[in-house]
Amino acid sequence: MLVQTQPPATADLIEYALRLGDNTLLLGQRLGEWCGHAPELEDDIALSNIALDLIGQSRLLLSLAGEWEGRGRDEDALAYLRDAPAFRNLTLLELPNGDFGQTVLRIALFSAYQVAVWRALRGGGEARLAAIAGKALAESRYHLRYAAEWVVRLGDGTDESRRRMQRALTHWWPYLAEMFDEDALERRLDGVAPQAALLRKEWEALMLPVLAEATLRPPADTEYRSGGKRGEHSESLGHVLAEMQFLQRAYPGGRW
C-alpha cells in the first residue's frame, strides 16, 4: 500500500493511531474509576465492561503504533512511559467523570463519534486500521446504545435529572469541537482517516435524535481552543497519568 511505503505518510499514520489509541485509553481509564461506585450493580457491570472494551481497543492501536514506529516501544511503553505532552487524546476524554449522568453523557457523545470513525476506517485504505475498526465498531455500537438509553432516561426522567443532564450537556459541549476540527495531518491521510465533515454529519444523525428524545437542548457553539490532538491538554491529564503510571515509574524495568 502506497501510504505504508512512504516515510512521511508512515509518521502520519503512527500519529493518527496514537490519537485513536489515546482516546480509548483515557476514557477507559476514567471509567475504571467507577468500579464499585455506580448507582446499581448492573451499571457497575456495564461501566467496567465498556472500560474493558476501550482498553482492549487501545492495546491494539498502541501496539500497532509501536510496531509502525519500529523503535521497540510496545503498548505498555506507550501507555506508561510517555508524559502528558506526548499524549494525543481529545481533551474531552481526560476530564473528570462528574456524576453518573455526566459520565453516561460523555460515553454517548464519544461513542457516536467512534461509531462514525470506525465505519469510515473499516472501509478506508489502511488494512490494519480497518481490521481494528471492524472489531471496535460492534463494541462502540453497544456503548452508544447503553449510554444513549441512560441519557434518555435521565433527560426525560425527573425534574432534577433533567436539570443535571442539561448542565452536563452544557459542560461537555465546548469540547466536542475538537472531534470535528480537521487538521493538516488528517487531511494528509485522505483515503484513510475520515473527513471531519462526514464525521460531523454522521455524529449528528446518531446523537441529535437521542438528545431530542431526552428533551435536552444543545447549547450554542462556543469558541474553543482545541489542543489535545497536538499534546496541549487540560490540567486533568497530568493527574490521570500520575495515577496510571506510578508503578511503572517507581519500579523501572519490572515485568508485570
Binding site: P39, L52, I55, G56, R59, D156, E160, W256
Partner: protein, 320 residues
C-alpha cells in the same frame, strides 16, 4: 394453622428429602430456621462479592500494564455478576435484593471479614486472587452440592469463574516472585499481610462454631470449618514454596504421619476485633457503599420516573 404434630411430620419429610440427596426448591416447604439460615448465609455471600469489588477495584486505575488492567476489569465485573446471581437466588427465599442490601447499608448484615483489610500494594491484588479466591473455592465447591437448589446452581457457575481468578492471581504473584528484588519484596510483604486473614476465612474452629451442626444436618454445609481450612493450607503451602516465598508462620510444619501441614496458633482475638468493626477498613467499606447508594438515588428515581412515563403511553407522557 399447622399443629405441632403436623409440623413435626413436615420436618421429618424435609429431613428425609435432604438425607436422600434431593434438592430443596423455592416452592417447597422448609423449616423457618432453614430459610433464615440460608437467607443469612446467601445474603452475606452476595454482600461479600459486592464489597469485595472495592479493594481490588481501587487498583484498576493503577494496574502496571494494560493487560493486567484488562484482567482486573474483567475480574471485578465477574464479581458484580456473582453478587447478582446470589441476590437472585436469595430472592427465591422471599428476601428481596433491596431488603438484603438495606440490611448491609444499615450495618445489620455481614460480609466476608477479609475485605476489611486494606489492599496496599499491587501484590495485594494478586494475593486477593490467589489466596482469598483460593479459599473461597475451597469453601464454595462443596456448596455447589448443597441442599438448596438455587444456591447450589449459582455456585456451579461462580466456582468456574473463581477458579479462573485464582489462577490469574497466582500468575500475578508468580510474575512478581520471578521479577526484580523490589518486586519480590512487594510479593513477600503482601503474603505476610494476607496469609493469616485468609486462613481465618474459614471461620472459627469447629468447637466454637455455633451454627455448624445444624447446617451440616441440613446439607447447607458439607464440611467443617477446620476440615476446609486444612484442605486450603495443604494445597496452598506447596504453591508458596514453589514461588520461593515464605509462609509467615514459624510453627508451620509438615507432619509425615498425617500427610498434612500443621499451622501455628491463629490469633482469634484479631479475627473477633475485625468482625466487630475494628479492622482498618470496616468503616471505609461501608461508607463507600452508602455513598454510592446515596449519590445514585437521583439516577434510580429518574429511571423509575421515565419507566412510569413510558408505561403510561404517549398520552400520559404529554400530561406528565
Amino acid at each position: 394453622m399447622a399443629t405441632t404434630e403436623h409440623l413435626e411430620a413436615l420436618e421429618q419429610a424435609f429431613q428425609q428429602r435432604i438425607d436422600g440427596g434431593e434438592k430443596i426448591e423455592p416452592q417447597d416447604w422448609m423449616p423457618e430456621a432453614y430459610r433464615r439460615t440460608l437467607q443469612r448465609q446467601m445474603a452475606q455471600h452476595a454482600h461479600s462479592e459486592y464489597v469485595g469489588m472495592l479493594p481490588e477495584g481501587a487498583w484498576i486505575t493503577r494496574a502496571p500494564s494494560l493487560s493486567r488492567k484488562c484482567i482486573l476489569l474483567a475480574k471485578v465485573q465477574d464479581e458484580a455478576g456473582h453478587a447478582q446471581y446470589l441476590y437472585s437466588a436469595l430472592e427465591s427465599l422471599g428476601l428481596s435484593r433491596e431488603q438484603a442490601y438495606g440490611q448491609l447499608l444499615a450495618g445489620e448484615a455481614k460480609y466476608l471479614n477479609i475485605f476489611n483489610y486494606p489492599a496496599l500494594s499491587w501484590a495485594d491484588v494478586g494475593m486477593i486472587g490467589w489466596l482469598t479466591d483460593g479459599a473461597a473455592i475451597v469453601n464454595q465447591v462443596p456448596l455447589s452440592r448443597c441442599s438448596y437448589g438455587p444456591y447450589a446452581r449459582a455456585m456451579v457457575r461462580i466456582c468456574q469463574e473463581e477458579s479462573f481468578h485464582h489462577r490469574q492471581g497466582f500468575d500475578l504473584v508468580r510474575r512478581l516472585a520471578e521479577g526484580t528484588p523490589a518486586q519480590r519484596r512487594m510479593a513477600q510483604d503482601a503474603l505476610n499481610r494476607w496469609w493469616w486473614p485468609t486462613v481465618m476465612v474459614f471461620g472459627p474452629p469447629d468447637e466454637d462454631s455455633v451454627h455448624s451442626q445444624r447446617s451440616m444436618r441440613w446439607g447447607v454445609k458439607l464440611y467443617s470449618n477446620d476440615t476446609l481450612r486444612q484442605k486450603f493450607v495443604d494445597q496452598t503451602v506447596p504453591q508458596v514454596l514453589h514461588l520461593g516465598l515464605t509462609v509467615p508462620d514459624p510453627d508451620l510444619r509438615f507432619n509425615p504421619d498425617t500427610g498434612h501441614y500443621e499451622i501455628g496458633r491463629i490469633d482469634w482475638d484479631e479475627f473477633n476485633r475485625v468482625i466487630r468493626g475494628q479492622g482498618l477498613c470496616n468503616r471505609e467499606r461501608l461508607a463507600s457503599r452508602r455513598r454510592s447508594w446515596d449519590e445514585g438515588a437521583w439516577v434510580r428515581e429518574a429511571a423509575a420516573c421515565h419507566a412510569a412515563k413510558l408505561a403510561a403511553g404517549p398520552q400520559g407522557e404529554r400530561d406528565a
